[in-house]
Amino acid sequence: MGLALKDLLRAHCLPQRLAGHCGGASPFPFPEMAQDSVGLSSDYQFWMQKVSTWDQASTVETQQDTCLHLPRFQEFLRQMYEALKEMDSNTVIERFPTIGQLLAKTCRNPFILAYDESQKILIWCLCCLINKEPQNSGDSKLNSWTRGLLCHVLSAFRFDIREVGLFTQGLGYAPADYYPGLLKNMVLSLVSELRENHLNGFNTQRRMTPERVRALSRVCVPLITLPDFEPLVEALLTCHGCEPQEVLWPEFFDAVSEAFLLKKISLPTSAVVCLWLRHLPSLEKAMLHLFEKLISSERNFLRIERFVRDSSLPEAACHPAIFRIVDETFRYALLETDGAPEILATIQVFTRCFLEALEKENKQLKFALRTYFPYASPSLVTALLQHPKDIPQGLWHQSLQHISEMLREIVEDQTHGSYGGPSDCWFAFIHFGGWADVAAEQLLRSEADPPEAVLWLLAFSYSPRDGSQQRAQTMEEVKAVLGRLLKLLRSPGFSARDVQAAAGQSREEAPRPLECGPLIRRLLLNFLLWAPGAHAIAQEVITLMAPTREITHEITGFLDQTLYRWDHLCTTAPASRKLASELLTELRGQV
């Protein structure tokens, strides 16, 4: 999967070269067959041969092959219909002389008729064969034949048990009632057999053999999206027999995974967990699907949250194995994109949703934190887990101090102790992004001298790989800027130029765009939001700060994230909030 993810991320040039979202079509269009008529004719030959080979799909091989091709065959049927509906009956026969054969053979294959919308499209194709104005007996014969085939599709596969038919008729039971009821009962019966298998292992008389379970998973493939089958799909996923090897047919997993991602089937979390644990590619596809959605839409914390919640990943990640795989995928994505803010944001949102789900979990068996974050010390994780909203604001500086000290110890410890080094603890830290944001805000809102621990924390969060000297330099720079900004606060009024100067540019030079790193930008933005006199000049400063689309993108991201965070912390700061919203709207309008 790494390769697919890499391609996906590269294709969207996440690192710093693209700002804003990619409008328009997804980068991986569905493999569509050629639309022109030449393409259709060659496809026709291909499918004609296939359908003849499959016949009624009564052998394992023909069943397997049919199930593998079902989605593409349906697409072909759709294209045929689009072509046929433009022609009249005679033209159809001219263009596709063997079409009757093709459609008839299709009708004989119950797996095709059982799949998705194939039976409906088949009926539409048959309707196209009808000659509205039959001129001769040949036309009438064709009509009669088509009529027969249509009726066959609609009422095929009667239970050819005469007594049953008469009996149900006698009871006033029409097929329209009978078949849904029968299907329901058959599914129920199979589900209870599977559950018995699951609970009693070897001891039941009616144990389902592994071959039968496998065969069942195979024949279910076309039927996964039929709502009546949900209990059976769930049972197949969650009921294991006693075999050490996987019993279910691999294509079954693929089909379920696809249907689940496209929301054509809804499964309880327990079934999804089983799917992902038993079939790793399904989990990988789910993550790719999430990334695709995130990439192709504008960065917006609410939207990210919605996508993450939609994906069922947080609930499933309560199972440590799944969490580890998801986490490693995130880490990989971070590395590939050099720490793109979108990925960081997603990790934060995911972690929060995951923690919520973990709390709701009622299982007796609760895993230690260590199982989820083996690369970080338990005390660090515990400290990071505390959400700022659970701690009184006055005590935030204490938590920040504590976290900073712990991180510093790990980072500066040459022996690396028993846990990972700087990159591991940075990775753990960014899961809980709230603290870095709080640190920056706190620095701007307090009048006191900035505590060194907090400075260190900020410097670390933006540049984890710096050496200690580089970091010390950064801390000095930040301290200087902070000092100048706080002086501005105390002065009666200040202009955008003043702010520019505070950020480190000398006044004498001609006005030019503000150049500074993301950390300084963050400080400036916080300043603008919190300083009482800054609201008037905020727009101007931002214009100075943001010459490129990338930086504008970064700033909108920051504003969006800040508003989102304030909502969750229930921070009441109406003036700041208003300003942030206005700035955000303004900037978004520009892009």
């Binding site: 509906k85 006698g170 006033g172």
Partner: protein, 344 residues
């Protein structure tokens, strides 16, 4: 309401005709009207599904209709047999017409166009006729696929899906028999079934559970449970069968005796004392007359204990509730107890 019932009757006729060669006289407009009608009745089904009174009235009319129809001819027409069927009447009509070779070709083409207009028609698949027809075809294919390649028939009768589905039927196998009548015979057979001798206790040689086959004892259970679930059939059972028979069944099945007593109490309370004639009479003509009530209680008091004692106790307690009079004419329970004597 009356107009609705009339429409129902007329549509049932149309549905019956749709299978016959008579449709050769139909033209596209007729077909369109018939389908519209069916759509309207489907709307009725949705609208009044929760409206108990209207639903019951419609159901009763449909069932009496069906009883009439089933009298004639060997294979009755399973058209509209109950309220549920209204929800699918357009499906049934469409299928019948599509399969009717007597329909003229041009008319059939028009029908096809109406039933399968193609994609681009608004509405979810569960709503449109073509969606539901396709869905039904899909389910039929699913049943076929399962039956041939996955499902195994169960030796356990009540678990076998095919048999279970037939048993569930519209209202069930027994209800179907009740509806078709003759009802008195049905009730007698039912009583006889409930009075069958109990089975000898089986040795516990194998583990019991859902896998064990059906025994007559268990069948009794099912039968009784079914009966207890059908208030109107139960009322008919207790009312129309002779006192002695009901008493015997009640003696065998305590759950039934409880319900029976409840019914008797209800019937008793509907009588009032006619001062001039000195007798207990009912207000309506269907009310259970005193003589019958007495006869039923007499049979019950002649039943073996514990039923006999239960009945006595009940009578005493009702008498006490009424005021514990010893004088006749004030409480029917007093009078009944007086009539029954101190009992043997």
């Amino acid at each position: 309401m009356e107009s609705l019932l009339q429409q129902l009757a007329r549509f049932s006729e149309v549905l019956a005709v749709s299978r016959t060669p008579h449709v050769s006289t139909w033209d596209p407009a007729t077909v369109r009207r018939a389908l519209q009608w069916a759509r309207y009745l489907r709307h009725v089904h949705r609208r009044f599904g929760r409206h108990a009174r209207i639903r019951t009235a419609l159901e009763r009319r449909l069932q009496s209709q069906w009883r009439q129809d089933s009298g004639s001819g060997p294979a009755p027409d399973p058209g509209l047999t109950n309220f549920q069927a209204l929800g699918r009447c357009d499906l049934v009509l469409a299928l019948r017409l599509l399969q009717n070779r007597a329909l003229r070709e041009a008319v059939w083409h028009a029908l096809l166009q109406q039933v399968f207009p193609g994609p681009g028609v608004p509405g979810a698949d569960e709503e449109t006729l073509q969606g539901r027809l396709a869905h039904l075809a899909r389910r039929r294919a699913a049943v076929h696929v399962l039956r041939l390649h996955g499902y195994q028939e169960s030796p356990v009768v009540q678990e076998d899906a095919l048999l279970k589905t037939q048993a569930e039927g519209p209202g069930g196998l027994l209800s179907g028999l009740w509806e078709r009548g003759p009802q008195d015979n049905f009730l007698k057979v039912l009583a006889a079934a409930l009075l069958l001798p109990p089975p000898s206790p089986r040795p516990q040689e194998e583990e019991t559970g859902p896998g064990t086959p059906n025994t007559p004892g268990e069948g009794h259970h099912e039968l009784l449970r079914w009966l207890l679930g059908k208030a109107d059939i139960l009322a008919a059972f207790c009312r129309r069968l002779p006192a002695g028979v009901v008493a015997a069944v009640a003696g065998r099945h305590p759950e039934l005796s409880r319900v029976y007593l409840g019914l008797l109490a209800d019937w008793g309370r509907h009588l009032h004392y006619d001062l001039q004639r000195g007798v207990w009479v009912g207000a309506e003509s269907q009310a259970v007359p005193w003589e019958e009530l007495y006869g039923r209680f007499q049979s019950l008091c002649q039943a073996p204990p514990p039923l006999k004692d239960e009945v006595r106790t009940a009578l005493e307690s009702w008498k006490a509730q009424d005021g514990d009079f010893e004088v006749p004419g004030l409480s029917i329970w007093t009078d009944l107890l007086l009539a029954l004597g101190t009992g043997t």
